[in-house]
Subunit: 470 residues, 2 copies
Amino acid sequence: MSKPFDSPQPLCHYDVVIVGAGFSGLYAARILARKYSILLLEASEQVGGRVRNHQFANGDVVDIGGQWLGPGQDRMYKLAGEAKRSIFPLYNRGDNLFLLGTKKTRYQGTIPKIGPVALADLGQLLARFEGMARQIDPQRPWAHPKAQRWDSQTLHSWVQRNSLTKTARQVFNIGIGAVFAGEARDMSLLHALFYASSGESMEHLLSVTGGAQQDRVHGGTWSICYEMAQQLGERCLLDAAVKKIDQHADGVSLCYEQNGVMACVSARKIIMAIPPNQINRISFNPPLPAWRDQLFQRMPSGSCIKYVARYEHAFWRDEQLSGQVASTNGPVHVVFDNGEKGKDAGLLMGFVDGDTARAWSAKSAQWRQEQVLACFVRFFGENAKNPAEFVEKNWSEEPYIRGCYAAHMTPGAWTGGGDKLRSPELNVHWAGTEMATEWYGYMEGALEAAERASAEVHSLLSRHLERTIK
Amino acid sequence: MSKPFDSPQPLCHYDVVIVGAGFSGLYAARILARKYSILLLEASEQVGGRVRNHQFANGDVVDIGGQWLGPGQDRMYKLAGEAKRSIFPLYNRGDNLFLLGTKKTRYQGTIPKIGPVALADLGQLLARFEGMARQIDPQRPWAHPKAQRWDSQTLHSWVQRNSLTKTARQVFNIGIGAVFAGEARDMSLLHALFYASSGESMEHLLSVTGGAQQDRVHGGTWSICYEMAQQLGERCLLDAAVKKIDQHADGVSLCYEQNGVMACVSARKIIMAIPPNQINRISFNPPLPAWRDQLFQRMPSGSCIKYVARYEHAFWRDEQLSGQVASTNGPVHVVFDNGEKGKDAGLLMGFVDGDTARAWSAKSAQWRQEQVLACFVRFFGENAKNPAEFVEKNWSEEPYIRGCYAAHMTPGAWTGGGDKLRSPELNVHWAGTEMATEWYGYMEGALEAAERASAEVHSLLSRHLERTIK
């Protein structure tokens, strides 16, 4: 009863096949489709990768994946404009809340109100971090004179050694959790510095107005992906999980599973635009070099569960609250008002990240909802207790994603092979936000990496064309 | 031209299917075959996992994978006896060599001759490490009162903070490289302490006579695997790479690829006996829980290339040298005389590990051989220049292994989900040396984990049998 599996004849030949229809794969397909025959293969049943919309019963749509745009992310603003999506600022009026244990205070801006000693401590800690991050060339984090030292310790170790007060550490760690979707021990200090450098600065990454959480997209960021996929039409294949990639001197053949059937295509070049933790799950022939497989093993994805509670009314706004919370006590440490401009509904969005997000996947959805709402009640009072609707998205559960926002380089990865991370592997080129040098981990990084990978492929294919014409 | 792939009807039904025919899978199969119908599936073309023989042109056989036995590894000694394999001590007469930079000295025992200050420093560093390791219960490393602290830093950070001299650190790091096949920054301090505790002590792991490098097996350790596979006969299937595991309440179905053809079998229980980095490469349905996928992402395998040079004569023995070397300068930091007792040939075995092993996979075999032999010449003189034969084994190149000796827990993994590492996943049970509490990373650990997983399965199946009879 066994059935044939290996080497079905390729159905079709393309100049370029792109694997993964998140922002990066879609953008690479869009660029290359102007000049080349392309095919975009997506393993799951919809495009968008780590970006997705949820539609509430009342018709309102909310981002349950990547959602923010901010200054410096020029490609994203341009792309949103081309897709005719309008941009609106995150609701950012009134006071933010800060909870130190059970003590609740109001504040404005990025840094919550803490005592003068802790504030000075937090200030010097952030200033020191920023000073180091500024020294990192995000194109070559491994090349900094102190790269080995900074890559041999966890971010946690550095924070412990360079802070004096527990409060400063607690507040800094709220930021780490929100920015990285992980614990400070999950990554090397060098990776954290690189990440901040690739996104301008830590302050930029932590800020709303003027920073990485400034703007949102009407109809959700996913609508931009949908628009790109629409333009590709049949050149974008869903439910097509690539299982095997065979390389030979002149090109590549890929076999993918679609509706339980294996099919194969061939291409001159391919662009991989999936998270590093997924790449090793595909069977390459010849196998990827040992150093590269080992490097991808050292790039685990972060973990974050995103929660959105929909209320009939944004009651916190009546109390001059912005909906933004930073809390030292979890499980929800960070909250934002996720309402769309011009919509009535009040949406509170909370993150549960790192170890808590990992542990929570073993609990029931009911239990998780109770925990999150208990936090919202602690922050905003009894009004928060009974939302009209409640949605959660745990990106680590998605079989073709398995984490978010992005991969963390564990200690030693950047300086122990990271210099070759983006180098093509014969006919395979690398995109995806983890291959970005600008805005690593962000949608903008996904575009930057796609642009670079597409340029590599174009350069090679057009050179080949010239040779052929001569 | 696409061909059917999904859900071929299962060919056969077994009580237990075991995935991976290394020491762990073979041992589990051997235990369970006494009472149950079993099938053992091995992805590669031979059994043995991270254990293998190489036969030289002159007929001599040498271990190019795991090779040593030592006191405390009772299961391995017993199993070797049952397989009628005799044991012999590693050649350990004469002086060892220690190279501090280019300065060469002779020494005996585990600790090389270094200056009194460095020696005192190394002594306190080792004593401190051992003192902490002794406190770790290898059944529950996460339960130690300081587990969070020790798991939030790399071993490297701890060594830097607790040593005064560069020499002590260099010597300690030679030991780390040899024991872990990795860099001190590749793992958390807690993992290193657990590892030492699970193998009795760091001193034990570093020692030859009386320690983990005491004994070897005539004909190679692989011959024990071969013997176990012979006894299983047709119940052990080679070239059978498991691709899909579907679980339902009563059992499991597995689909594997063999000679390009997909075949499926079903079982009541399965035991996974493959490295953690390989488990996520198999498609589970339902998918593994988010926390478990994330945990395996945080268990990258170490990296080590093993070199053996065969000389017509063990010329170093004539100079009262043991063949053992510890060198602060690499690329080869550690050498042993790997000759079999009663054989004429002289075999020098060297390890290249961690970042160097990773980087070397991008180089040519010729270049690597020259580098290794240049080290051997530095250690033993011009006689070492031209071996009769030379063999290398890079376990990170093996597509179904991708590293050795074992997985390292990166910072945060043990305390961020490690407590559930060995808990069964419905009908899936976990073996392999990374699931051991005794001798994690060693062949003995592979047996210990197999014993525990087999007992779990037996307990469940026999209880079910009792219920059926009643």
